[in-house]
């Protein structure tokens, strides 16, 4: 008797374990909260403010997805992850999606079994050095000590760059951006390397940002984007099209200011389809018809999010560059909503 109860329990546990793998969107809805993996703190991209409220460019993607699926942009549980813990957290189901300046690479997509749902920032790896060092090119860094965040693609790019240029360096592996900043400012490393956007964000928090220069070389392509687990395409679609909705909204001129007006119906069929006054795109996605309206209301369209968190008006001061709409000579190109 005892034995059969035990076996029964084993079977139930086994079934439960099997079921947990499927249908993330149902899990999120049932939980009423989206678990979103972000960095442990990179100002402008994801960092808690004085009130403990998470803010930033990546955070805005999480909030938009939460707004689209759950109707509430604040229904997000932010899970800080390091470069090392992020993939385990996603693969194990601890988080539903990862929005953490993660570079889309072949092996992460194919071998690690993740699904990148788009690109929200086109980046590249750069170097920051103190001005006093008198270095004007990364190729002059022969013999330098370089701080890197361990467990990132930057580690591999760095090795490749120095190898290719036949110069030597000494890596100082560091776990988080904050520690790297401390080491760099203390002079324990000559240069700090990470994505150029991250360098700008880090420099913005220095006491005297003008004493540090970002070298002109961009040594890699770093398409950063949100990602989900492989094998749940429905959930992948939700994240992908929420991001696309934000990008398309900017292209179509839908902003958080005029969205209520536009959601009442416009002359543009594509805007109408996006905002759910025409067609059934929301239902196809497994959410309701106002999903995109809520996603855009959460933090504005892509351009607004960019300007508010990392744009030229902010201390981080990044130009749109590659991240402008395709109509403005950038790379942002949302597929049509139809």
């Amino acid at each position: 008797m005892n034995k059969s109860v035990f076996l029964g329990a084993v079977t139930v546990a086994g079934l439960a374990a099997g079921a947990a793998a499927a249908a993330t969107i149902d899990d999120v809805k049932a939980r009423g909260k989206l678990n979103c993996g972000v960095t442990t703190g990179l100002v402008g991209f994801a960092a808690p403010d004085a009130n403990g409220e998470w803010n930033g460019f990546d955070v805005a993607v999480c909030r938009a997805v939460a707004a689209a699926v759950l109707g509430d942009p604040t229904a997000v549980e932010f899970v800080p992850t390091t470069g090392k813990t992020r993939f385990t957290a996603l693969a194990s189901g601890e988080i539903d999606m990862l929005a953490r300046n993660t570079t889309w690479t072949f092996s992460r997509d194919v071998d690690l079994k993740f699904e990148f749902t788009g690109i929200n920032y086109y980046d590249g790896q750069g170097f920051m050095v103190p001005k006093g060092l008198g270095v004007s090119s990364a190729k002059e860094l022969d013999g330098a000590t370089v701080c890197i965040q361990t467990g990132t693609t930057t580690e591999l790019n760095l090795a490749d760059f120095f190898r290719k240029n036949n110069i030597s360096y000494e890596p100082v592996p560091i776990e988080t951006n904050a520690e790297a900043q401390q080491q760099y400012l203390a002079g324990a490393c000559d240069a700090y390397t990470t994505d150029a956007s991250g360098l700008a964000a880090t420099r913005a928090t220095f006491e005297t940002p003008a004493d540090h220069v970002i070298l002109p070389e961009i040594i890699s392509k770093e398409p950063l984007g949100p990602l989900v687990r492989h094998g749940d395409s429905e959930w992948g679609d939700v994240v992908r099209w929420t991001l696309n909705a934000l990008i398309a909204a900017e292209e179509l001129g839908v902003t958080s200011a005029n969205i209520d007006e536009m959601a009442a119906g416009t002359n543009s069929p594509e805007v109408n389809r996006l905002l759910g006054t025409e067609g059934t795109l929301g239902e196809m996605l497994g959410v309701d018809k106002d999903w995109a309206v809520r996603a855009i209301k959460a933090g504005g369209n892509y351009g607004e999010i960019f300007a508010r968190n990392i744009g030229e008006e902010t201390p981080i001061g990044l130009a749109r560059g590659l991240n402008a709409q395709w109509t403005d000579g950038g790379l942002l190109y949302a597929p049509p909503f139809r």
Binding site: A21, L133, A159, R163, E170, E175, A188, R229
Partner: protein, 404 residues
């Protein structure tokens, strides 16, 4: 007169498995064993099932592929084109280096602090008590970070050594303390230098032989030869003499500031120093307590008996108390050595590339082979711990009191 009869032979019945105390424990142990096996089988099949569901498999192929990353402390030749396997070996060696250094230092600190804790001098006794309590009761990770932060914040950067009137200068023109680590002169051996080295090794054996001889003489005839200065003389004199006779064949390569960093010499990384000292002083505090316990466990009568024979306090400690205390100290010392080795995995906090940093950190992360890498890590730490245990148990058996 009594007659002995065999007790009636009891037939084994199934109910005896529960009712008879002779068998009951076996029954429960068997059930417990079954449960444990079932649990492991369940966890294993759950893992396989979930891996299959996620389309993943267990494979160690990644070990043969190029790692693609660099490591700053390389005991063996390694670059970013070497395999993950080689990166793991570099990590293993780095773990062993820091564990060995920390075990040695912790033992020295621990024995000194433990003996001084029993000193008759109030100030020394209290100071050691403060040391033990302060270091034992703060997590070792905090100590690692404290030492590392102090080093980075207070020591000058290499560029402070530059210029005609530098802010920092090298100690004796040979040792540079920077926030990236300590640069030491490196000995360069010419062929004749090996001869000097050989003579030095021989004189170590000579010193050991002399001490044995002196002890034997003392026991056999009661004649007391001086121990201290002849040992030092045997150790140093032949090597120094041969060094000058052979024309100073050992040169020193001094670290020199060139480019961004010092070049030449030996660099001891700041992260290694922080980890080494943190582990040593932290575990040293535990060892001090073991030593104190061991000394106090030696009966007071032994000390008094030795004193009544006219031995001086230092002799009593060295000849009577410590040899007996050692036997009590060694078993807990084994577990402290194991602790040091395992705690060295905190290396990642300061970016020291031990096995947890290479195989369990970057390799795991870049290949995504978490289960494989963690299994290998477990295997490594288990092997190292068992080896340390075995060696120390062997030593313990050699020195323990032979009871007949």
């Amino acid at each position: 007169m009594t007659t002995l009869t065999d007790p009636p032979k009891e037939q084994f019945r199934l109910s005896m498995l529960l009712n008879d105390t002779r068998y009951r424990s076996y029954t429960f142990q068997f059930i417990a064993l079954l449960l444990v096996i079932a649990l492991i089988a369940y966890l294993g099949s759950n893992l396989m099932q979930n891996l299959r569901a996620a389309g993943l498999n267990i494979s160690y192929q990644f070990l043969g592929e190029p790692s693609g990353y660099d490591i700053n402390q390389r005991p063996i030749p390694y670059d970013s084109q070497s395999t993950h396997m080689r990166a793991s070996i570099v990590g293993v060696l780095n773990t062993l280096i820091v564990a060995f250094l920390a075990c040695l230092t912790a033992t020295v600190i621990g024995v000194i602090a433990g003996v001084l804790r029993l000193s008759n001098n109030w100030l020394v006794r209290k100071l050691m008590a403060v040391y033990v309590e302060a270091f034992r009761n703060v997590p070792v990770l905090i100590w690692i970070l404290i030492i590392f932060t102090i080093m980075t914040a207070t020591l000058p950067a290499p560029r402070a050594f530059r210029g005609d009137d530098p802010e920092a200068s090298m100690l004796f023109g040979a040792v540079a303390f920077t926030n990236r680590g300590v640069y030491l002169p490196k000995p360069l051996l010419e062929p004749m230098g090996w001869v000097v080295l050989g003579i030095f090794v021989l004189s170590i054996f000579g010193a050991i032989w002399y001490r044995r001889y002196a002890t034997k003489l003392l026991y056999d005839t009661g004649r007391l030869l001086p121990m201290g200065w002849p040992t030092v003389a045997i150790l140093i004199l032949p090597a120094v003499l041969s060094y000058f006779i052979l024309g100073q064949p050992i040169a020193l390569e001094y670290p020199e500031l060139g480019g961004f960093n010092f070049s030449g010499g030996v660099q001891v990384l700041g992260s290694l120093i922080a980890l080494w000292f943190a582990l040593a002083i932290y575990t040293g505090a535990f060892i001090a307590e073991n030593v104190r316990a061991g000394i106090q466990a030696v009966s007071r009568g032994q000390t008094e008996a030795a004193a009544s024979l006219g031995l001086r306090p230092r002799r009593i400690m060295n000849l009577v108390v410590l040899p007996q205390a050692l036997r009590i100290i060694i078993p807990p010392l084994i577990s402290q050595y194991l602790n040091i080795t395992k705690n060295s995995s905190l290396a990642i906090a300061v970016g020291y590339m031990d096995i947890t940093g290479t195989l369990g950190g970057i390799t795991l992360n870049q290949t995504g082979r978490a289960i494989e890498a963690v299994l290998l890590l477990m295997l490594f730490y288990l092997t190292i711990s068992l080896i340390i245990s075995a060696v120390m148990n062997f030593y313990n058996n050699a020195v323990r009191l032979k009871e007949r």
